[in-house]
């Protein structure tokens, strides 16, 4: 998958998951169709079978009953399935707290999912070189409102109403890794009330 380059340096560019030969244990995390990325990674010949490799998955689009057979079972040790992304994200800090240095994360899913996981990894003391992300799924954005400091989830249009203050925000490609969110700002900042028609940009 090639990402268009917007000219804004902070906009993340995602690649195919790459196995890190320095890893001493692996944790693969995906939602929905992100499982495809994990399956490709697990079939990599570079993966060292003697290392512990665990999987955390939350999915609806691929039947959960199939997800185990979708990944070749001899390529991982343990798979934990979750009913929702929220329950997966709640379980992740505990899983990381029990982990040791040398762990690498491989994350695959929608853009909001990638950064939700990345922020938990960071809070657990991981550096960005210790996790690897691939975008498969929705590009819907998390957008930060500098006027009220709320973040809106799942934004798919160029202009949206902030979930916090209700102002119409235009979202731009400036991305904060700290917050895992794009920056929005008031579209009618100059002339209040002049709000252009919104367009869907991503799904």
């Amino acid at each position: 998958m090639t990402e268009e380059i917007s000219g804004i340096k902070s906009k993340p560019v995602y690649n195919i998951l790459q196995y890190d030969p320095k890893s001493r244990s692996n944790l693969l995390i995906a939602e929905d169709d992100g499982l495809i990325g994990l399956a490709n990674l697990l079939s990599s010949s570079e993966l060292i079978p003697s290392l512990t490799t665990n999987v955390m998955y939350s999915g609806s689009s691929i039947e959960k009953s199939n997800s185990k057979s979708y990944l070749s079972p001899d390529r991982y040790n343990k798979m934990s399935s979750f009913d929702s992304v929220d329950t997966l994200l709640l379980a992740l800090p505990q899983a990381l707290a029990k982990s040791q240095m040398g762990l690498r994360l491989y994350i695959c899913g929608s853009e909001m999912f990638l950064w939700s996981v990345a922020n938990i990894a960071k809070a657990a003391g991981m550096h960005k070189s210790e996790y690897n992300m691939q975008l498969i799924g929705s590009k819907a954005r998390r957008v930060y409102c500098p006027h009220c400091e709320a973040t809106s989830e799942g934004v798919t249009t160029d202009i949206h109403e902030c979930e916090g203050c209700g102002l119409s925000l235009v979202n731009c490609d400036h991305f904060s890794r700290e917050m895992g969110a794009y920056l929005g700002f008031r579209v009618d900042a100059e002339v209040h009330g002049e709000i252009p028609e919104r367009q869907e940009l991503y799904r």
Binding site: K22, S23, R24, L96, A97, S99, Q100, M101, G102, L103, R104, A124, G125, M126, H127, S129, E130
Partner: protein
């Protein structure tokens, strides 16, 4: 730059803590507090032994919350260039010396979940300030400290008494060696490791960390190198049209300073990069840790604190 102040200070305590290590406390002659510093910082001590002036960097070993006193610990190097010998033989309570402003090349990474320190010999010094800070912040820390024998382990007893569960001593005379594989394996996610000690020890610890999958961002090290002597050489200063001689036992930086040429500096050991100087002509004997291999190969710049001429002449853009 690091040389932005030099404070005349007086020794208020001087204790021989091991046969080779002397622990000094200083206060400012004007009675004012020193500036704040962060754990891991070093200062450059300026002294004159009557024939030569010396500027040696030392880690601050005292509490970073004590602004009234700066503390250092100096290991005697009797085969060295004379700075540590002078500190041991001539600096006593009441002596006055110059202290430069602190600079930190080895800071604590505060967001780490756990701090793992590996020290060898006098490499304990930055960790004295670390541990004080970590204790105050209630951080999770562990110190693995290798010493030749108990008598030569500076601060070993006080550290062990104060932090019996966090400090592990390895006494080489008793054949107890630190095993970096054991120390670095199975450390919790989010741990940062800090290594300070002899060159080989630092290299070994860094290699093991890499093998165990530690990312570079979680691995920190510091080693100060005193400038080794070398052949004497001459230097032409292209801009000021001067010629100076560098003697065998002095560094190029010292020779420039003696000729009243001000070069910014901090670590004086080839690590910080402050004194990087442009070279116009002559082959360089690079001895620093700072320049990249490509920069070294270009022959266009050098670190005069530690590097010298390969031949008998260099031309600098000064």
């Amino acid at each position: 730059m690091s040389t932005n102040f030099s404070l005349t200070s007086r020794v208020v305590r001087a204790d021989q803590v091991t046969p080779l290590i002397k622990h000094f406390s200083f206060e400012r002659v004007d009675g004012k507090p020193f500036g704040p510093f962060s754990a891991g910082s070093h200062v450059v001590i300026g002294m004159n032994d009557g024939t030569e002036s010396h500027k040696n960097p030392y880690s601050l070993v005292g509490s970073s919350n004590n602004f009234m006193e700066y503390e250092i610990a100096v290991r005697l190097d009797s085969t060295g260039r004379g700075g540590s010998l002078f500190m041991h033989n001539n600096i006593e309570v009441g002596s006055e010396i110059e202290i430069g402003s602190p600079f930190n090349l080895f800071p604590v990474y505060k967001p780490a979940k756990k701090h793992l320190m590996i020290a060898g010999g006098v490499g304990i010094t930055p960790f004295m300030a670390y541990i004080d800070e970590m204790n105050l912040m209630h951080s999770n820390f562990e110190l693995h400290y290798s010493v030749r024998d108990f008598e030569n382990g500076a601060f070993a007893k006080e550290l062990q008494d104060k932090y019996p569960n966090q400090v592990k001593l390895y006494i080489q005379a008793n054949d107890v060696m630190a095993n970096f594989n054991e120390i670095l394996d199975n450390q919790p996610l989010g741990t940062h490791v800090y290594v300070c000690g002899p060159h080989q020890m630092v290299a070994d610890a860094l290699r093991v960390a890499d093998e165990l999958g530690w990312p570079i961002s979680s691995v920190h090290s510091e080693e100060f190198k005193a400038p080794d002597p070398g052949n004497p050489f001459t230097v032409t200063l292209a801009k000021s049209n001067r010629e100076i001689n560098v003697r065998s036992r002095e560094s190029l930086l010292e020779a420039l300073e003696n000729a009243n040429i001000e070069i910014p500096y901090s670590c004086r050991g080839g690590a910080c990069g402050f004194c990087k100087t442009e070279v116009i002509d002559g082959e360089i004997n690079h001895r620093d840790y700072f320049l990249t291999d490509a920069e070294k190969a270009s022959g266009k710049c050098m670190m005069p604190c530690i590097s010298r001429a390969q031949g008998d002449h260099l031309t600098l853009n000064l």
